[in-house]
């Protein structure tokens, strides 16, 4: 296997009695877009700050491009960092902000001007180069921060919840812009967010963090469809966790029983008989009809209108199941008995 571009080896970070990052092993390849996703306080910022050199690991090694960087001060790491609150210099114009890393590297004035202009064009802010950051909107400041982190062509760009302060529309626009830049410039990007849809939209791979440990790392598809743990299943997207007990594993197909004694078949997973498990089924994978293999009967408790679809809250087998249904004339109403079904392929077993 090739040497990873960015490598964390058994990296821990301890603040007093609190272990914030716990024996982290992580390999990021060159040109990859990796998102770190996790709830507040799970150590994402700390990991980024260790990579950028603002925090020293309590133990373990961090290497970039095959070189160990633990002794390297932040200003020599050559990483573009986009901070959570932009961190633009308020006493400098937009152009001066972007020129700052170039002047720190002794780039000649003429070349620096040219590169600043190119960077401004890239983020479509050419007309605002003389403004102060305080005279810009949040989205514009965001783009200045991005231009400033990219103008010196760093090998790695670290972004800490860079879109957190933007409204939904602008955030989606910026997500596409950043993804586009990533592809065009071949950047290696480490992107911190606690917004799972943002991570799913943008990343090559997602690392899901919980309490300083990686719960799962993989492509958005793997993470979404095959969550490794209950935490991941709950954290990424919406899911139904149906309690069940493993019954028998016969070859390709395993069977589980629900609390009401009903038996369901689930795909590809070796289960020990008697094991307590959860079935994770996405709401959009459950059909409000009996057309699929695993059928459950229930009573509609609530119908929630969502514009383009309906959400049915159903009591079934002593649990609550949420499913997504198309809008139609024949939509069930509260109190109706209903039969739901899903395919064994669409349910994923995680430990309880």
């Amino acid at each position: 296997m090739t040497q990873p571009f960015i490598g964390f080896e058994k990296v821990s970070k301890v603040f007093g009695a609190l272990t914030v990052v716990d024996q982290l092993d992580l390999a990021i390849h060159e040109g990859e877009f990796v998102s770190m996703l996790g709830p507040s306080g799970s150590g994402k910022t700390t990991i980024l700050m260790m990579l950028a050199g603002f925090e020293a690991p309590s133990s373990g090694k961090i290497s970039v491009a095959g070189r160990q960087v633990d002794q390297l001060p932040p200003h020599k790491r050559n990483m573009g960092v986009v901070f959570q609150n932009y961190a633009l210099f308020p006493h400098m114009s937009v152009a001066d902000n972007i020129a700052f890393p170039l002047s720190m590297r002794g780039v000649a004035k003429a070349e620096s001007d040219q590169r600043v202009r190119r960077a401004l064009d890239m983020v479509q802010l050419g007309a605002l180069s003389d403004r102060r950051p305080s005279q810009l909107s949040g989205g514009q400041q965001q783009r200045v921060a991005l231009a400033r982190a990219l103008v010196f062509e760093p090998q790695v760009v670290l972004m800490d919840e860079p879109l957190g302060a933007l409204d939904k529309k602008l955030r989606e626009q910026m997500q596409l812009d950043i993804r586009d830049l990533h592809r065009r410039l071949g950047l290696t990007i480490v992107f911190v967010t606690h917004d799972q849809s943002e991570a799913l939209t943008m990343s090559d791979r997602i690392a899901v963090f919980n309490r300083g440990k990686i719960e799962q790392i993989g492509t958005p598809n793997e993470i979404y469809d095959h969550p490794a743990t209950r935490f991941v299943a709950e954290f990424i997207g919406e899911t139904n966790l149906i309690h069940a007990t493993a019954e028998a594993a016969d070859g390709e197909v395993s069977r589980v029983v629900l609390a009401n004694g009903q038996s369901l078949s689930v795909g590809r997973k070796a289960l020990k008989p008697g094991e307590q498990v959860c079935l994770s089924v996405r709401p959009e994978r459950i059909k409000p009809s009996g057309t699929q293999e695993n059928r459950i009967a229930g009573t509609v408790r609530d119908v929630v209108y969502h514009g383009d679809h309906l959400r049915l809250i159903v009591d079934a087998a002593g649990q609550t199941v949420v499913l997504r249904s198309e809008r139609s004339e024949a939509a069930p109403t509260i109190g109706d008995g209903i039969e739901m079904s899903f395919s064994p392929r669409d349910c994923w077993v995680v430990a309880r």
Binding site: A52, G53, F54, P73, P74, H75, K76, R77, N78, M79, G80, V81, F83, Q84, N85, A87, L88, F89, P90, H91, F100, P101, M104, R105, R132, S134, R148, A149, F152
Partner: protein, 391 residues
């Protein structure tokens, strides 16, 4: 409440402040300033002489008419106090008037017909004496004190010229005042900026402790603090004993009755005025700007110069102004800790005001100090607004 009814209420609310400022600030300031430039004695004592000498050319003693007016005015002075003031006023312009005037007055009173002053005393043929009389009676205002405050005077012919060397040292004292104030400001800045940075970077009780330590001097009387420095700085005081005990110096370092002592003590007293404004600006600077500068390739020193210092400039400017302006008026500390060569302009003003009862000179020196300060302040504001920072 309507706008119209609110106005009288607002005026009533600020009335105490207005009255306070008027009675305790504006009025004394006006009194001192007018005392510096008013010179009514001679005009009052010799009411006719001013116009009689107006057309005199100053080459020789004035003609008999003018002398007659002078003699008449002298005879009609009943008030000995007023005469004494007049003599003092004229004598301060030209020595010799004291004997001349009493001799002339006695002679004029004995012989009510005599109008030829030269016959009474030869000195009246000297135009220099008449020049002094003319200047004194010409106007109720004078620039004598203001000129004297910057070591200038008028020649008998009325031109402005430097005072003979050794008579007055106001210019030197004024220059020294500015130099000492500048030294103190620089010392406060060099100590205060890093101190404020440290105080802004820590939190909780450590910050309270640091700020408390720097605020402590403000809670004790200036006199007590100065007295404490007086003890500490002595040849066998704590500092010198420590230096010698540590072997850093073989004999006592002269720290008292010289400029060093004055600067040390004043820096200590004025430090809070530097630390507090800088601190308040520093804690307003977003915490992630310095990491951002580092991530963009700025080594710590350059990040300081390019980011932290420009952003804290407002605090530096207001702190420096506060310290400098306060230092200009310092009086007790230089008087107690300084030597003869370290007295500042305030001591000279205090000497004129309380020691010599010369309110006019005290007022004039005050005006000069005020003017110099305002000019410096304007220059500073001009410079500061050129590189306006707006965090």
């Amino acid at each position: 409440m309507s706008r119209r009814r609110r106005l009288p209420v607002s005026l009533a609310l600020i009335a105490p402040l207005g009255l306070f400022l008027l009675i305790f600030f504006a009025a004394p300031l006006y009194t001192m300033m007018s005392a510096a430039v008013s010179d009514p004695i001679a005009s009052r004592a010799l009411p006719g002489v001013g116009s009689a000498l107006a057309s005199w050319d100053g080459s020789a003693a004035p003609g008999p008419d003018a002398q007659a007016v002078f003699a008449r005015d002298i005879r009609s002075i009943e008030d000995d106090q007023l005469f004494g003031d007049l003599v003092r006023r004229l004598n301060s312009a030209k020595p010799g008037f004291r004997t001349l005037m009493s001799k002339t007055r006695t002679a004029l009173r004995e012989d009510l017909k005599a109008n030829d002053l030269v016959a009474i005393d030869e000195r009246w043929s000297d135009p220099a004496y008449w020049q002094a009389v003319k200047t004194a009676t010409a106007s109720t205002f004078t620039d004598r004190n203001l000129l004297a405050a910057v070591d200038l005077e008028r020649s008998p012919a009325g031109d402005i010229q430097a005072m003979p060397a050794g008579i007055s040292a106001n210019r030197t004292t004024l220059a020294r005042t500015f130099v000492v104030s500048l030294l103190v400001t620089i010392a406060c800045l060099l100590i205060g900026f890093p101190y404020a940075m440290i105080a802004a970077s820590v939190e909780g009780w450590k910050r309270q402790l640091l700020l408390g330590a720097v605020l402590l001097p403000l809670w004790t009387s200036l006199l007590v603090r100065t007295a404490a420095w007086f003890i500490l700085l002595q040849d066998n005081g704590l500092i010198n004993s420590a230096l010698m005990a540590l072997g850093l110096s073989s004999g006592p370092v002269p720290l008292i009755f010289n400029r060093t002592g004055v600067v040390i003590a004043m820096t200590h007293v004025l430090l809070p005025f530097m630390v507090l404004p800088i601190f308040s600006v520093l804690i307003g600077i977003p915490k992630n700007l310095m990491p951002a500068a580092a991530s963009l390739g700025a080594a710590p020193i350059r990040a300081f110069w390019k980011v932290l210092l420009p952003l804290s400039m407002r605090g530096v400017v207001s702190g420096s102004l506060l310290v400098f302006m306060s230092a200009l008026g310092y009086y007790i500390t230089p008087a107690l800790i300084g030597g003869a060569q370290d007295q500042m302009i305030s001591s000279v003003i205090a000497y004129y005001a309380t020691g010599a009862a010369n309110w006019a000179m005290a007022g004039a020196l005050g005006i000069v100090l005020l003017a110099a300060t305002i000019i410096l302040y304007t220059l500073y504001l001009r410079l500061a607004s050129d590189q306006q920072v707006q965090p």
